[in-house]
Amino acid sequence: MSITVLSGLAGSLLAAPLQRTAPRRAGWLLALLPLGLFIYFLTLLGPVSAGRTLVETLPWAPGLGVEFSFYLDGLGLLMALLVSGIGALVLVYAGGYLEGHPQLGRMYAFLLVFMSAMLGVVLSGHLLTTFLFWELTSISSFLLIGFDHKDETSRKSALQALLVTGGGGLAMLAGLVLLNQAAGTLSIPALLASSPDLLKHPLAGPAAALILLGAFTKSAQFPFHFWLPNAMAAPTPVSAYLHSATMVKAGVFLILRLGPVLGDHPLWTPLVSLTGAVTLLLGAWMALSQTDLKRLLAYSTVSMLGLLTLLGGLRTPLALEAAVVFLFAHALYKGALFMVAGAVDHETGTRDVTRLGGLARRMPQTAAAALPAGLSMAALPPLFGFIAKEVVYEAALESGLFAFAAVFAASAVTVFAAAVIAVEVFWARPAGSPPREPHEAPLALRLGPLVLAGLGLLAGLLPGPLDRALLSPAAAGLVGHPLQPGLALWHGLTPLLAYSALTFAAGALLYLARRPLRRLAAALTAGFGPDRLYDLAYAGVFRLAAWQTGLLQHGTLRYYLNLTVLAATGLVGTVLLLYGGLNMPAAFPGATFYEVLIAALILLAAGFAITTRSRLGAVAALGVVGYGVAAIFLLFGAPDLAMTQFLIESLTVILFVLAFYHLPDFERFSSRRTRLRDMLVAMLAGVLMTVLTLSAVGIQIFPTISSYYAQAALPEAHGRNITNVILVDFRGFDTLGENVVLALAAIGVFALLKFPKRRQP
């Protein structure tokens, strides 16, 4: 399983070279990879529907209980099939959509990275693995939304999506840490088997809330829904793949996945179902005013993600089954319709419905794909969307009037949206004229929608096998016991059928009144919403940064030093005094003649350094201070340290001299008062360091480790010089880090010195 998940990453490396060598076939060739994965996942249908789960665990950081682990059950298999299957279609589609684009290879690469990440999310068996891939989907989504990076809107939308979902990801990480504290594990199989006592843990509630926050941002739930319509700045293949069929369902997936673990917490159902219901209605309402096909579909997606969340919150067996069935139906028809919208955009040059109409004659095959997909979205028989909607209604009715009313209203708008894209665009009398003369889309653009729409029809006609092999096992894992597969196209003359008919009638009415309705809804929704709030917060962060930079980093070296020294002294000193860290030795051992001599030398040099009027003199005197300290190291048997100190002091003087060469002479001296103040600050720091050092001598919290080093240096590390053995072997990782810091400092110096100075305005 790890290979299937990671193969996309390897494939992404091939994408750009392949695009260069075979520009026309690259999309088709690359699609073979997800197609192969899709077929592999199909072969797993048998064992998984028999109730087996596949687990693969690789050690990652065993000492921390962190595993790189995969877990495949019914739900994971359903998602993996969607991700790989739609992935193959989208790669082909992207080849047609962006034909001749100079960065098409990069698009393929990003799409494959995303596919890997998404497979990782849905197949992960450890929540930290989930988190890793979860963040990778956010990053690949950022890259894909900002694909057209020369366009400012694209960049802004990409950043917005990253900040919203990335912020949610951080909340989720915090939640995972809390969950780990409460449950003692983040392994999904172990969590699923954990006892209900977990919910009594005081951290279970906060953990659930934080993880849900991450899920809500990802699945564009209110009040974080705004990033999804803005993400429509991405090229359409991306919208079809990430922002309707797969990635935005990651949040719902996580809600479903963790439902058996945390779902019985008193917080869960109110929080999740209320958020879902609000999003359901809000998305529907916002969809009414949209005339851009992609934004219309995006708001409809927001609404339907709300529905899935609502179902994941209700958590009755019926609701969970409905969530699984509807998730599948939605991925099929919404993916198809996005691709249709992209094809229309590609062939006519516009996505504005007020300028489109009657395209069925010019684009018959695209229309042939749009119609079944639209009918499935409108939940008409014999499409699979109808079956899904019936189950959803059944689940909503069971949980009460409010849920049913919300679902009913949103479904009516869904019928309206489906009519706009499948009927108005293709069959209605043209209201305006598109910028380009429309003609049929190329095969690469037709294949995806035709296949997905065809599958929707097939699944509608033959729901039984699909239900038995895929959907029931997926729902059974969530409910906790096997389900009786019962999906069917025809249930007889039931109240549900009447409700479906009513929904369709209401949606049809909305469609007929679409023109005044759009004006009315646009007038009522203009100018407010969390999008504005995001802009304000975004600008606020920059203002805060500017304010605190001005406060702390004002560019005067003297104040930098004062601030740094005072802050350090204040913080350390306070802790030392408050927590009784003062521990002065009662008696000082007598000093030898050499020690006294060197100390006197250091003091003399320090005194000279602060009184001299020559810069060079001051630096040389500081060098003497350093040499004195090195001499003390030598006296106390640390030759390595002393040697290094001697060299560092020499080099520091050289660097100072080189820098001084460019400075003007000392001319203006600071006033008495400033010097007095600086002296106080310096003395404070000096006193603190002295006290701290003296206190530290008498404190031994942990047993000393030096004897271990002394014993192990020769047999284990083949060296007699303990200092060096520690540096290059025992603590090699620290040294590695220090070298990186050194290199970074050097790069900083290069940057400061080599780049031309900007003139101050």
């Binding site: 050289i654 820098a659 460019h662 010089n721 540096l727 040294t735 400092a745 050097a746």
Partner: protein, 139 residues
């Protein structure tokens, strides 16, 4: 600082200091010394050269671009750690073997030597990079 005496002295001192730096590097594992100190010594020697002549001459004589040396040094450090990863042990753990050299007896060689070499290169690169660029600042 274009002093004739300094230049003459540096001409003699440079090879000796560099030799001393290599000596420090090689003895480092058993006696005081090691890559860091050796790197500082070599860097100090070249800084002296750069002061006595100028950075252009020093760069020409040094031949290697210091930035490249930094990058190479870091890569050597990373690579020395990877050797143990690929032999199935944890990253950066030392691997040793004995190399019999005629006349010298068995010489112990191990990945920490490579690691120390990386430190040596990085330190020289960083110090000289800064010294050279400071000398080249234009008014």
């Amino acid at each position: 600082m274009r002093s004739f005496f300094l230049r003459t002295a540096v001409r003699v001192l440079l090879p000796m200091l560099l030799l001393f730096s290599i000596y420090l590097f090689l003895r480092g594992h058993n006696e005081p010394g090691g890559g860091f100190v050796a790197g500082l010594t070599a860097a100090a020697a070249w800084s002296l050269y750069a002061i006595a002549f100028d950075s252009r001459h020093a760069r020409a004589a040094f031949r290697v671009e210091p930035r490249r040396l930094i990058a190479t040094g870091l890569l050597v450090i990373l690579a020395s750690g990877l050797i143990s990863t690929f032999s199935g042990r944890s990253y950066l753990s030392g691997i040793w073997f004995s190399l019999p050299v005629p006349g010298l007896g068995d010489i112990d060689l191990g990945t920490p030597v490579l690691f120390d070499l990386g430190v040596f290169m990085t330190v020289i690169g960083v110090t000289l990079g800064i010294v050279f660029s400071l000398e080249e600042v234009e008014e």
